[in-house]
C-alpha cells in the first residue's frame, strides 16, 4: 500500500513537474521567437504558437500576453489599414482574455494602451482625439497598478513625446517619464517570473535620444 502511495505521489509530481517544464520550455522558445521576429510571417508563426499554448494552459496569462504583443507588432508592420485593424481587434480580444486570468497585471494593461496607440496611426486625424486620450489614460492606469513597470512608462513617454511634437513644445514631460523608465530598465532585478516581459528598452532609448 505504502509503495503504491509513493508511486502515485511520484507520478503526480512527475506529470505536474513535467507540465510546468513543458510550459516553460515551450514559452521560452516562443518568447525568443517573438522577440527576434522581423516579418509579419515570423510574428504570425510565433503568435500561432502562443495561441496553441493558451488553448492547452487555461489558467496562464503569459501566452495571451505574448500573442497580443505579436499581434500588435504585426499591426505595426502591416501597411493595409484594414488588416492593421483586424490584428488590433485580435490583440484587444487577447488582452480581455488575459485580464480575466490576471486582473491585476499591469503589463496586460500596458499592452491594452499600446493597442489604442496603434489604433491612432490608422487614421490620426479622426482617431487621434479619442484614442490618444484613451491610450494616455490606459498607460496611466498601468503605471498606477505597478509604478515599476518600465514598459508602461516607456509607452507613456512615447505618447507624451508625440503630443509635445504635435504642439511644437519641448518634450520635458516625455523625457522625465522616459528617464524613469530607463532607470528601471537599467536596475532591473531579475524578475521572479522567468516569462515576465523584457522588451521596451530600445524603444525607450529612442525617446531618450530626443532629450539632449
Amino acid at each position: 500500500m505504502k509503495t503504491i502511495n509513493i508511486f502515485l505521489l511520484m507520478i503526480i509530481s512527475i506529470t505536474s513537474w513535467g507540465n510546468d517544464e513543458k510550459y516553460f520550455a515551450q514559452m521560452s522558445k516562443q518568447v525568443h521567437a517573438v522577440y527576434t521576429a522581423k516579418t509579419i510571417d515570423e510574428y504570425q508563426v510565433a503568435v500561432n504558437a502562443f495561441d496553441r499554448i493558451a488553448s492547452a494552459e487555461k489558467s496562464r496569462w503569459e501566452p495571451y500576453y505574448y500573442s497580443v504583443f505579436g499581434n500588435i507588432m504585426m499591426a505595426i508592420n502591416e501597411k493595409d489599414v484594414t488588416k492593421k485593424d483586424s490584428y488590433l481587434d485580435l490583440a484587444l480580444a487577447g488582452v480581455e482574455k488575459g485580464k480575466a486570468l490576471a486582473p491585476d497585471e499591469s503589463e496586460l494593461v500596458a499592452l491594452e494602451g499600446f493597442v489604442y496607440m496603434i489604433r491612432v496611426t490608422v487614421d490620426p486625424a479622426t482617431r487621434g482625439q479619442k484614442y490618444s486620450g484613451l491610450a494616455m489614460q490606459t498607460f496611466g492606469k498601468a503605471v498606477s497598478m505597478n509604478k515599476y513597470n518600465p514598459r508602461a512608462l516607456a509607452l507613456l513617454a512615447q505618447m507624451q513625446l508625440g503630443t509635445a511634437r504635435f504642439f511644437n513644445q519641448s518634450p520635458t514631460e516625455a523625457c522625465e517619464t522616459a528617464r524613469k523608465a530607463a532607470t528601471i530598465f537599467e536596475s532591473a532585478v531579475e524578475p521572479q517570473n522567468p516569462l515576465a516581459p523584457r522588451w521596451g528598452k530600445e524603444m525607450n532609448l529612442e525617446v531618450m535620444q530626443q532629450c539632449k
Binding site: 507520478i11 495561441d51 488553448s55 486625424a125 504635435f166 504642439f167
Partner: protein, 720 residues
C-alpha cells in the same frame, strides 16, 4: 523500484505508440493556399502553422477522438473531429471568409455615415465641427454633401427636391419633433442638437431602412455618445455668448451636461443687418446625457435638451416701408429620450425607447397673439436576432402620438379661434439583412403603418442591395416607398387628410481606397398624395398633388494626396417639378436649384499649430412666383445664383486652449433667396417686389475654448 521502472517503461511505450502524424494543406474557398494559418489540437500544445504554400505537418501525442482547429485572421475558424490512433492522417482544409464589416460589401445607396471607428465613413464626426461655413451645425456640415440643396434662408436640410420638413431627425432611433431652433422669417435656423453630443451620424438621402418612418425624403440618424472616458470641464467664451460643459465619469456610468447662453445683441450693434430688430434673439439652452451600464450587458442612455429663446422685430410693408408690424416670438422647447439595450443571448438582443418632445410657440403680431403647442411621444421596441453570421433580422413595433393645438385671436369676430388634432400612429417593421458573401449583401423589409387620425393604413416595402465585384469598388441599389403626415398647418385644418407619399429608386457606385473616396449616384423619386388646394383655395385641402425629382450626384474626397490637407467636392444635379399646394400647374418649387456645388478644404499647418478651412458653395438660381405674370408662367422667374466662400481658423496655442475664428461669405456676394411681392397693386397696377437678402452679408464668430481635465492633451477641437 522494479515495479516503478516497469511502469515508467510502460508509460514511455504508451507515448511512443500513441504518436499520430497529421499533414495537409489550408486553402481558401477559391483554392488559394493560406500561409500562416494556425493548426492545433484543441486543449493541447500540439499543432503548427501552415507554410508558404499552405501545407503543414505535425505530430500529436493525443489519442482517441480529438478536435482539430484551424484559424486565420479574416476567416471563420474551422474545426473537425479526428480519431487519433497512430495512423497517419492527411487532410485538406478549406477556410471560409469571415463576413467583414470593415472590408466587406456595405449598402451605400443613399446613405452617408459619419463616425470615428469605420474608415469608410464619408464624413467624420470631427468634420461637422471643422467645416468652414457650417458654424458647428450638423445640418450646415451635411449641406456640403451631394443630394442637398442650398436654401440659405432656412438653414435646413432640403434633400433631392424635397422640402425641409421632409427630413426627419432621430436620436438613438427615437423620433424628434422640430429639430431646428426657431428663427426670424428668412434667417437661417440652427439645429437644436449640438454635434459634440454624438459619436455617429447617419444621413440618408433616400432608400433608408424600414425602421424609419414619417419621413418623405431623408432620415438623419444621430447616435449619442457612449459612456464618457474622463472627467472634464469645458468653458467657451464666444463673441455671441458663453457656454460651459462638464463631464463626470464613474466606473459604469457617466453624466455630461452643457449650458449655453446666446445673445446676439452686442454683435448686431456692430454689423449692419437686413432685419429691423426690436430685440435680437436671446437664447438659453442646455443639454444633458446620462449613461449607465446595467448588469452584464444592459445599457441605459438618457438624452435631454431644453431651449428657451425669444426675439422681436418689425416687418415692413413692401409698398409703403413706413408701415410696419411688430412680431414678437418666444419659443420653448423640451426634448428627452431614454433608451435601454439588453443582449438576451449571443444571438438575441432587445432595445426599447421612449421619447418626448414639447414645443410651444408664442407669437404676437402687433400685439395679437398666436399660440401653438405640440406634444409628441414616441415609444419603440426592437428585437434583433442573428440567425447566422450571414443573416440578421430586426423587427420592431412603435407608437407615435402627437397632440397639436393652435389658437389665435380673430379681431373681426373678437373670438379666440382654435385648431387642433391628436394623431396616433402605430407601426410595425421587419427587416432582414443577408450577407451572401463579402461581395454581395441584400436587405429587405417592410413597414406597416396605421394612422388613427384618418384611419389610413399603408404597407411600405424597402429593399436595398450591394455588390462588390473587386477589392474596392461597389454597386448599390435601393428602392422603397415612404410616407409622412401632412404638415401641421394643413393637418389642423383638414384632420382627414391622408399622409403624403414618395417612392425612391437609387443606383450608386462607390470606390473607397485608404483615404480617398469617389461616389456617383443617380435616382428617381416620385411624389404622390401631396397636399393640393382645390381651385387654389387654401381652405379646400386635398391629396391630389404629385411630383417627381431625378438627378445625378458626384462626390470626391481625398485626404491622402497632399500632406495635412483634406478636401472634398460634391456636385448635385436636380430636375424636379411638382403640382401641389397653390400651384396652378406642375412647376419647379422655389426651394429647388438645378446645380449645387461645394468645395470643402481643410489644411492643418503644423508650424502654426492651426487648422485652416475654406468652403465654397454654389447653387444655381431658384424659381420664384411673380404675381405680375400670367398664371401659365407660374414660378418661371429665377433668382441669381447663390455663392458663398467661408473660412475658419482654429489655433491651438496650448494643448487645452483653442481660439476659433470663422467668417461666412468672405467675398460679400449679395445672395438673393427670392422675391416677396406686395399683397396689393401699386398705382401703376403692378405688384411691387422686394428681394430677400441674407440677414447680414457676413457672419463673424470668435470663440475661446478652454478644457480643464487631468489629461492635458484633451481639448475641445472635436466639438468645435
Amino acid at each position: 523500484m522494479k515495479l516503478l521502472t516497469l511502469c515508467l517503461l510502460l508509460l514511455v511505450n504508451l507515448i511512443a505508440i500513441s504518436q499520430t502524424k497529421i499533414s495537409g494543406i489550408v486553402k481558401d474557398e477559391r483554392g488559394e493556399p493560406i500561409p500562416g494559418a494556425n493548426i492545433l489540437m484543441k486543449d493541447s500544445y500540439d499543432g503548427t502553422s501552415s507554410g508558404a504554400n499552405g501545407t503543414f505537418t505535425f505530430v500529436t501525442e493525443e489519442t482517441g477522438v480529438q478536435t482539430l482547429i484551424v484559424t486565420f485572421v479574416g476567416y471563420k475558424p474551422y474545426s473537425q473531429s479526428l480519431e487519433l490512433s497512430g495512423k497517419e492522417i492527411e487532410i485538406k482544409i478549406s477556410l471560409k471568409e469571415e463576413i467583414n464589416q470593415l472590408d466587406g460589401v456595405v449598402i451605400s445607396a443613399g446613405s452617408f455615415t459619419a463616425g470615428d471607428e469605420n474608415r469608410r465613413t464619408i464624413l467624420k464626426a470631427i468634420d461637422i465641427a471643422t467645416t468652414a461655413g457650417a458654424t458647428a451645425d450638423i445640418a450646415g456640415a451635411l449641406n456640403t454633401l451631394p443630394g442637398t440643396q442650398k436654401v440659405g434662408e432656412t438653414g435646413r436640410l432640403f434633400v433631392r427636391g424635397g422640402d425641409g420638413s421632409e427630413t426627419r431627425t432621430f436620436i438613438d432611433g427615437m423620433s424628434v419633433l422640430d429639430a431646428y431652433g426657431p428663427s426670424a422669417p428668412n434667417t437661417p435656423s440652427r439645429g437644436r442638437f449640438l454635434p459634440f453630443m454624438f459619436m455617429g451620424t447617419s444621413f440618408s438621402t433616400g432608400g433608408y431602412s424600414a425602421e424609419y418612418g414619417q419621413a418623405l425624403s431623408s432620415a438623419l440618424v444621430l447616435n449619442s455618445k457612449d459612456i464618457a472616458e474622463m472627467n472634464q470641464t469645458d468653458i467657451g467664451i464666444l463673441s455671441v455668448g458663453a457656454d460651459v460643459a462638464h463631464t463626470q465619469v464613474w466606473d459604469r456610468a457617466s453624466v455630461s451636461g452643457k449650458v449655453q447662453y446666446t445673445n446676439i445683441r452686442p454683435y448686431f450693434g456692430l454689423i449692419n443687418q437686413e432685419i429691423d430688430w426690436k430685440t435680437p434673439p436671446i437664447s438659453l439652452e442646455g443639454s444633458g446625457a446620462y449613461r449607465q451600464k446595467i448588469g452584464k450587458d444592459g445599457f441605459f442612455k438618457f438624452f435631454g435638451n431644453f431651449n428657451q429663446s425669444s426675439f422681436s422685430l418689425f416687418n415692413h410693408d413692401i409698398l409703403d416701408p413706413t408701415i410696419k408690424k411688430q412680431l414678437d416670438q418666444t419659443n420653448t422647447y423640451r426634448y428627452g429620450n431614454g433608451t435601454y439595450q439588453q443582449s438576451l443571448t449571443a444571438k438575441w438582443s432587445v432595445q426599447g425607447g421612449l421619447s418626448y418632445s414639447y414645443i410651444k410657440n408664442d407669437s404676437k403680431i402687433d400685439g395679437s397673439p398666436i399660440n401653438e403647442i405640440e406634444k409628441g411621444i414616441h415609444a419603440k421596441v426592437v428585437v434583433e436576432h442573428s440567425v447566422s453570421d450571414q443573416l440578421e433580422v430586426r423587427a420592431g413595433t412603435e407608437l407615435y402620438s402627437r397632440d397639436y393645438e393652435a389658437t389665435r385671436y380673430n379681431s373681426f369676430s373678437d373670438n379666440v379661434e382654435s385648431f387642433s388634432f391628436s394623431e396616433p400612429i402605430s407601426a410595425t417593421f421587419i427587416e432582414g439583412e443577408y450577407y451572401a458573401s463579402n461581395h454581395f449583401v441584400v436587405k429587405a423589409g417592410g413597414r406597416l403603418e396605421t394612422n388613427g387620425l384618418n384611419d389610413y393604413t399603408s404597407v411600405d416595402p424597402r429593399l436595398s442591395l450591394a455588390y462588390k465585384p473587386g477589392k474596392q469598388g461597389q454597386f448599390s441599389f435601393a428602392y422603397g416607398t415612404f410616407r409622412q403626415s401632412a404638415q401641421n398647418q394643413y393637418l389642423r385644418l383638414a384632420n382627414q387628410i391622408n399622409p403624403e407619399k414618395a417612392e425612391h429608386v437609387i443606383l450608386n457606385y462607390q470606390i473607397v481606397t485608404n483615404r480617398k473616396t469617389f461616389r456617383v449616384e443617380t435616382y428617381y423619386k416620385r411624389y404622390d398624395q401631396l397636399i393640393k388646394f382645390q381651385n387654389i383655395n387654401p381652405s379646400f385641402i386635398t391629396n391630389t398633388g404629385s411630383g417627381y425629382a431625378r438627378g445625378v450626384e458626384l462626390f470626391w474626397r481625398d485626404s491622402e494626396t497632399i500632406k495635412n490637407v483634406d478636401y472634398w467636392i460634391s456636385y448635385s444635379y436636380l430636375d424636379t417639378e411638382r403640382d401641389y399646394l397653390n400651384f396652378p400647374t406642375a412647376a419647379i418649387p422655389s426651394f429647388a436649384s438645378a446645380h449645387n456645388f461645394s468645395f470643402v478644404y481643410k489644411h492643418f499647418i503644423t508650424s502654426l499649430k492651426a487648422q485652416l478651412g475654406f468652403t465654397y458653395s454654389y447653387a444655381s438660381g431658384r424659381t420664384y412666383y411673380n404675381p405680375n405674370k400670367p398664371s401659365d408662367e407660374f414660378n418661371s422667374d429665377k433668382t441669381p445664383s447663390y455663392q458663398d466662400l467661408s473660412a475658419n481658423v482654429a489655433y491651438l496655442p496650448k494643448n487645452n486652449l483653442i481660439i476659433y475664428l470663422s467668417c461666412t461669405n468672405l467675398l460679400g456676394h449679395d445672395n438673393i433667396f427670392g422675391y416677396r411681392y406686395s399683397t396689393t397693386q401699386n398705382n401703376q397696377g403692378e405688384y411691387v417686389s422686394k428681394a430677400t437678402h441674407q440677414a447680414a452679408p457676413r457672419f463673424l464668430f470668435l470663440g475661446v475654448f478652454i478644457t480643464i481635465s487631468k489629461n492635458k492633451s484633451v481639448n475641445q477641437l472635436p466639438n468645435l
